[in-house]
Symmetry: C2
Subunit: 295 residues, 2 copies
């Protein structure tokens, strides 16, 4: 959090005592895919914890709680500022942890300011429109955070791997998506796109847990096994999609996600850094509060 | 209408007897703004009737009725084909005739297949989103025709003339709009954009009629006079918007509209030509109709 915002929070804001003093945390640029960079997922260790080498699961909870509180503060600031919006796009292979990320990162944030949208198989109305139609509809209003649990990227991922449209059709979508996201950015929405990167071994463990544990059966589908059988094709589709659409204004982050606690810390920190860089501010009072007497 | 479609209509379709034999009408390319062409509205006569030099108002009704019937046939074909959509964007100065155009051109077409959307001053929810948000939402589903009575172009017209946002903001919208419309095209929607071109003298007559005739008072607003006082700025804004966004896939037509009957004929013909060029077809029967016996 910038010193200016920090100072403002403490000076003006009744909730500011919930906010821990700003810790200048580790920079998450290491996970950001720069524009023009050719992503190779096989070169990236899904199990590393380089930003917190000395931390472990046991002690991560306390750190996450502090980050949650910071994020909650920043969400209030975004809301009060009212001029900008934040869109978080989450993509992952099955069992990658999208639901757990949302739960872990946004717990404690006012749900009035955060809306989560899942994009599954298009419904009968959705399929009658272009693939961005249902997604554009759910983009956040000014002052809000929207989280996309899956997104328009499925239209260059699952649609590509399963050959639901010809190559010509999905391939030109990279440009559509860049353009669409640039328009959103120009008009006031900040985008953060995150791939939860897990290893094939980790997926096996998580799928096995879903099979073995009756309480997790509801999460399992045979389709997961079919998608797993196409692991390499999906990894290549992710590499291409991220390489093609990671831009300065709408960057992708590839976050090591075999360790759930580490994934949550990294994503919280990315969101905090992003919101802080937006230079949000509380509206300037139009009057002198000391002149107001309420009898 | 192409001979192939014509033949199909007559061979397969119970409604086809409503359809007049195809008259190869005058080409409307004369009103199409080619990509890269620098539009100058002052060079274009709003009162001409070059495509029907010998026709007059009295005899235009019968011609329009035939075109209405053709358009109705083509709308059924678009619906039955089910793979494409048509979006008609109508823009004009005040009194330009958007409402009259919609009434004149679409009368007789099944309203289930045609939806008209008006885009006025953005409402409180709309203004919280990017300017394409409300417009994208109303784009037509496959098989449908949508008519936009005003559109996203107001965001580079009235917004520009009244300086509602800085130049930098409205100017980059040309590119957004080109990209947005290209995406719609790539995904199956055909766009036709029409400016109803009237002269300043004709506008004066029409405004005066609204003032003089109590039955037309509801159409009059003082804002019309304010906009009229900025006539030249609006004309320049239209010229730039059309020049910047007329593309091969999403062309603008500037239609002489001082004569309402001529305007309607030209626009009907443009729509008929556009739908005909889409090479729509009735779905191939999956069975041999002669093998079906209904007892």
């Amino acid at each position: 959090m910038s010193l200016i915002i920090e100072a403002r929070l403490h000076a003006w804001h009744p909730w500011s005592h919930y906010c821990e003093p700003s810790e200048e945390g580790p920079h998450m640029d290491r996970y950001r895919i720069e524009s023009g960079y050719q992503l190779r997922l096989a070169d990236r260790d899904a199990g590393e914890k380089a930003a917190h080498p000395d931390l472990n699961k046991k002690h991560a909870g306390a750190v996450l709680a502090r980050l949650n509180a910071q994020l909650a503060e920043l969400q209030k600031l975004l809301w009060s500022d009212g001029s900008r919006a934040l869109l978080l796009v989450l993509q992952a292979m099955d069992t990658g942890g999208k639901d757990g990320t949302i739960r872990g990162v946004f717990t404690g944030v006012n749900p009035q300011g955060v809306t989560v949208h899942g994009f599954g198989v298009p419904g009968p109305h959705e399929i009658e429109h272009d693939y961005l139609w249902r997604v554009h509809d759910k983009t956040p209003a000014r002052g809000r955070i929207a989280v996309f649990n899956r997104s328009h990227y499925e239209d260059v991922l699952i649609v590509r791997v399963n050959e639901l449209v010809p190559r010509e059709v999905w391939h030109r979508r990279y440009e559509h998506i860049r353009n669409f996201e640039q328009m959103l950015t120009d008009e006031g929405t900040v985008l953060v796109k995150i791939m939860l990167h897990i290893s094939k071994d980790e997926q096996k463990l998580r799928l096995q847990a879903r099979v073995d544990n009756p309480a997790k059966h509801f999460k399992f589908s045979m389709g997961d096994l079919e998608a797993r059988s196409k692991w390499d094709q999906y990894q290549r589709a992710y590499e291409d999609a991220i390489t093609e659409t990671s831009t300065e204004d709408a960057p992708w982050y590839v976050v090591p996600s075999d360790r759930k606690w580490y994934r949550n810390l990294v994503i919280s920190r990315i969101l905090i850094d992003t919101l802080t860089a937006m230079n949000l501010s509380y509206p300037t009072p139009e009057l002198d509060p000391t002149s107001i007497v309420i009898e």
